[in-house]
């Protein structure tokens, strides 16, 4: 599904370049696709090993310490993201006053992916906390998997 989304927006741009289509809607569509791709992917697709993180310290301490570190950081994330949820909801729903200029879609629909993202990340970290508390080790970062763009 991810790939289909990706292909869709490349086709849009390629078409635009070759045939000089009325460009507004294609450009807008690809920007929307980009936004959704990143937030959707971060929420549901990316595995823990692929994320860009700083693991010099966590790789050098023992298993117990690593679990505790995972619990502390996970808790902090859940608390802060959770606290932001109501305000985010009101921002996103407030955006219904605007519409995208070409696609004629209400902005609150376009931006709703952020709410999905926030809730999904909350869920993911709560789940992660639940197994950390039971003493399972968090996944380690994998050097050949890290998806850095450098």
């Amino acid at each position: 599904m991810l790939a289909v989304m990706f292909a869709a927006f490349i086709i849009q741009i390629v078409f635009r370049y070759f045939f000089n289509f009325p460009v507004g809607w294609a450009a807008e569509l690809s920007v929307v696709m980009w936004l959704w791709l990143v937030l959707w992917g971060a929420a549901f697709v990316l595995t823990d090993e692929e994320e860009i993180r700083f693991d010099l310290l966590s790789a050098s301490v023992g298993r117990r310490a690593r679990i505790i570190m995972g619990i502390v950081s996970g808790l902090a994330l859940v608390v802060l993201y959770g606290a932001a949820l109501p305000a985010t909801y009101s921002y996103v729903t407030f955006m219904k006053v605007e519409k995208a200029s070409y696609l004629k879609v209400r902005m609150d629909w376009l931006f709703s992916i952020y709410l999905v993202f926030l809730v999904a990340i909350l869920g993911r970290y709560l789940w992660r906390l639940s197994y950390l508390v039971r003493g399972r080790e968090p996944d380690r970062a994998e050097p050949t998997q890290t998806s850095s763009g450098l």
């Binding site: 741009i13 697709v45 010099l56 310290l57 570190m69 994330l77 606290a83 932001a84 376009l110 890290t146």
Partner: protein
């Protein structure tokens, strides 16, 4: 700014959370949320910054497209043709295969914007070729693949330079042109070092390729070699925006690898798309985090305060650049480069401009520096990657990397001291700076 200020708390939170192993993008968003709540501001501001920032930056779309283009070009048979072409050119020298490794990286650098993609793609092939029959030691081959991959994002296209263009409002076209000479310089000093070592270490020579075969080999590699020409042509003729040039490059790469060379099928296209999407997502999260955090930095007026502070010291532009180099090299030992570009450079940039440092020069120097950071121990992503690919120990790898690190730092110093190395080509293309 007292220690208990919301800003200090936010920075502390980000550093602590990243140290504890949280993904850096999330750590930045979480820290910024902490700042907003301590300031009593609306927490929805984070969402607003992130969504609007992502939604209005059409430029950023170039990043997934460049990744995709490189992914398509990375297929086996294109790499083979490029290797044969490079071998025909420099294989006859002593240490020929080592030279091929560097030259291949230069050529591939003009098609891909990512050092890690370069190392992942050609690193394995070169490792097998170079260690066959024990011609080169495994650690030397791995070290060479790591250091030559550094050239990838200096020669255009370059993902780090796109990121820099985003935070600095500098033209991508001029930045790309500015990277050409430093990139070639980097390749040059690496090849020079190999030539200097070749005799002493008794590097083998490859069977020379007859000159009359050269046209055929070049012809076979020609469509792939045309890719940078098309890319840069689109950019500088002004027909297309950078994003569209990236799209054209991706489309061209797909065209030649799927139809002309028939090196990839539908399955591979799907796999390439998926892999690029995954990379895009993880960079995207970093960008998202940086967008939110940069709002905090701007709200606190940090860049301007710093600029005023440093201006009071009356630094010369050169002294400033040297300080920045040292700072970035130190940071590069511990931090991931994307984070440095997105978070640290925007803070330094106003100072650079106040002191009269050219933003294109500054960007290329900074990116060159950060790329060298990919092979500096203890935290160098390229090192980790080659340890994995070549199955050598980090200690042996680092020992072989060190001499190269030396000459690369020399090249960095040269580029820092002589802005013309960077600015010559952009000026020829009409850059006024």
């Amino acid at each position: 700014m007292t220690f208990a200020s919301p800003f200090a708390a936010a920075v502390l939170a980000i550093v602590t959370l990243s140290l504890l192993g949280l993904p850096i993008g999330h750590a930045m968003i979480a820290g910024s949320l902490l700042y907003l709540s301590m300031k009593g501001l609306d927490l929805g501001t984070a969402a607003e910054q992130l969504l609007n920032g992502m939604y209005t930056s059409y430029l950023l779309l170039a990043i997934p497209l460049f990744i995709l283009a490189a992914e398509f070009m990375n297929s086996g048979s294109i790499m083979d043709r490029l290797l044969r072409f490079c071998n025909a050119l420099v294989g006859r020298w002593r240490g020929g295969l080592a030279q091929v490794n560097v030259l291949q990286s230069i050529v591939f650098a003009s098609m891909s914007g990512s050092a890690l993609a370069d190392a992942a793609g050609s690193g394995k092939i070169m490792q097998t070729l170079m260690t066959k029959d024990g011609r080169y030691s495994a650690s030397f081959a791995a070290a060479l693949s790591a250091v030559s991959a550094v050239i990838g994002p200096i020669i255009p296209p370059s993902i780090p330079l796109v990121l820099y263009a985003l935070v600095s409002d500098t033209s991508i076209g001029f930045l790309f042109l500015g990277g050409v000479v430093p990139g070639l310089l980097l390749g040059g000093v690496q090849m020079g070092l190999i030539a200097a070592q070749a005799k002493r270490r008794g590097f083998p020579v490859e069977a020379p390729v007859a000159l009359r075969d050269l046209p055929r080999i070049t012809w076979e590699a020609f469509p792939a070699l045309m890719m940078p020409v098309i890319l840069l042509g689109c950019l500088y003729s002004g027909i297309t925006t950078p994003t569209e040039a990236a799209a054209a490059a991706a489309a061209y790469a797909l065209l030649i690898s799927a139809l002309l060379y028939r090196s990839i099928g539908l399955r591979d296209v799907y796999r390439s798309l998926e892999r690029s999407a995954r990379v895009t997502v993880s960079i995207g999260m970093l960008i998202a985090g940086a967008l939110v955090f940069n709002y905090v930095v701007t709200a606190e007026n940090i860049p301007r305060t710093l600029a005023a502070l440093l201006q009071a010291y009356d630094l010369s532009p050169l002294a400033f650049l040297l300080c920045v180099n040292l700072l970035l090299l130190a940071l590069g030992c511990f931090l991931e480069g994307t984070t440095i570009i997105l978070v640290i450079l925007p803070v330094l940039l106003p100072t650079a401009q106040a002191l009269g440092v050219d933003p294109v020069h500054f960007g290329v120097v900074a990116v060159l520096n950060i790329m060298i950071g990919l092979v500096t121990p203890p935290f160098g992503l390229l090192l980790f990657m080659m340890v994995k690919i070549a199955n050598v120990s980090l200690r042996e790898l680092v020992r072989e990397v060190l001499p190269f690190l030396g000459v690369m730092l020399g090249a960095l110093a040269l580029v820092t001291l002589l802005p013309d190395l960077v600015l010559l080509l952009p000026r020829l293309a009409g850059y006024k700076g």
